[in-house]
């Protein structure tokens, strides 16, 4: 089953983390066969939010919600069940300064 691990944290604290440590976390997940995708994100000040209302696209500078903790990156993992996904998510380094939201992936069911 697939789980998306959303990495949240205060940007200053996330920025202070060691990239090499995050890299080796990802490599470990690749080796164990749990890694599907994962990236770190640029800070929220680079974000643009768009929405379509009445057929018109509008854009705003910044993220969808202004909160202290920002989305800083993600991992898409393949795990046997939630226990395994949580176990892997606990090893993501920013868990120590921010938080990791673990969400199961919903399969789209057309028709």
């Amino acid at each position: 089953m697939k789980y998306l691990c959303l990495v949240y944290g205060e940007e200053a604290k996330i920025a202070a983390m060691d990239d090499a440590e995050c890299m080796s976390c990802a490599e470990g997940l690749v080796e164990s066969g749990h890694f599907i995708a994962g990236e770190a994100l640029q800070p929220v000040e680079t974000a643009t939010t768009l929405r379509i209302r009445n057929g018109k696209v509008s854009y705003t500078d910044g993220p969808f919600a202004e909160t202290k903790e920002q989305l800083a990156g993600f991992y898409l993992l393949d795990a046997r069940d939630l226990n395994e996904a949580l176990d892997k998510a606990a090893k993501i380094p920013p868990a120590r300064v921010g938080s990791i939201e673990v969400r199961p992936i919903r399969e789209l069911q057309p028709d």
Binding site: M1, R80, D81, L82, N83, L86, P104, R106
Partner: protein, 424 residues
Amino acid sequence: MTKATGQVHQQIEALYRSESRRVFATLLRLLGDFQLADEALQDAFTAALKQWPLDGVPANPRAWLVSTGRFKAIDGLRRQSRFVQGIDEFADQLEVDTPDFVAYADEDIEDDRLRLIFTCCHPALAEESRVALTLREVCGLTTEEIASAFLSRPTTIAQRIVRAKAKIRDANIPYQIPSAAELPERMSAVLQVLYLMYNEGYSASSGANVTRADVSTEAIRLAELLLDLNRDSNADTEIAGLLALMLLQESRRAARSDAQGELVLMADQDRRLWNRDYIDKGVVLVRRALKDGRFGPYSIQAAIAAIHAESVSAETTDWAEIVGLYDVLLRVNASPVIALNRAVALGMRDGPAAGAMAVDEIYERGDLADYHLLHAARADFNRQLGQYQAALVAYQAALGYAQQMPEIRFLEKRIAEMRAKLTK
């Protein structure tokens, strides 16, 4: 209905009460889905009601029920397969993956109960859902019974249970006994649920409190089961500690309210009403827990409860020992409620002035500002010191936060006493 049929029906009813949650736990492991397992359980008992009066009661009724439930579920899925794509494959898979009933040994069935407990108490579920789900699925209480125990509406409880089951299904929370490495942490989540459950049933309530006592009894029963199934594991010390704590608290149930249902404080309780059986069992368990180095907060609290249980009066209680145990407990778990209990014990050891000072310290830190027992403790020390005005104010503050009827009546009585003292 013939007499023989009536007897078989009675037997099935008794079996439903004693075995249905075990059968359910095994069906849940086999079928992997709450709803499927629930339907399979009902179908199995319906089949028993039809077949047993004709064919006789099978040698191993539990295995028969599991086997029949599993068969009915697979059969039911096959019949839906014309309408829902992919269900046939699911049914085939189930048939292959799950062994036939001869393999359902008794220890497997107990393991299935344990799996179910760990699933219902999974830390990924909301705390209040864990308690409701455990009472519903493990203990077999109805939604109405749970609601009445929690002074809540049945629809609220039903929603909590539905939401928890949906999360178990959609997030794929497994039915599984945690590995030895995870066991202590996961066990502590289970123990927390049991203690919440126990306290819910123990806190005094007005009038019909039958269900509440039942909830406490269920918590004790589950702790006994857990201890049985985890003997010599790395998590058994705190199970023993919690079981001891619950038994020792339970031993005082008959003494803690009078004939009118009014609250009786421990110092004023008739200790002859304390249940010696529970005390003896509890004390043995505490000793065992304290002997090995892995004891934690439950064992320490049980040790405190054991000192009370073995004292003939409040005056002769070894308060120094109790304060010392609270100090140990605070080091393990620095909670303000424990600090409050320590302050009260300190007052018993060193007198009301020392107690008042310790409680005021907690009060001034702003912890527990909305906890009625903090204000009640302040009030009580002030009363003992003859400072009735301060006591009155604190009792009134306590009254503002109290929720249980007997506690409210108790505080109102104290407030009236303080008023009388002040007008003299």
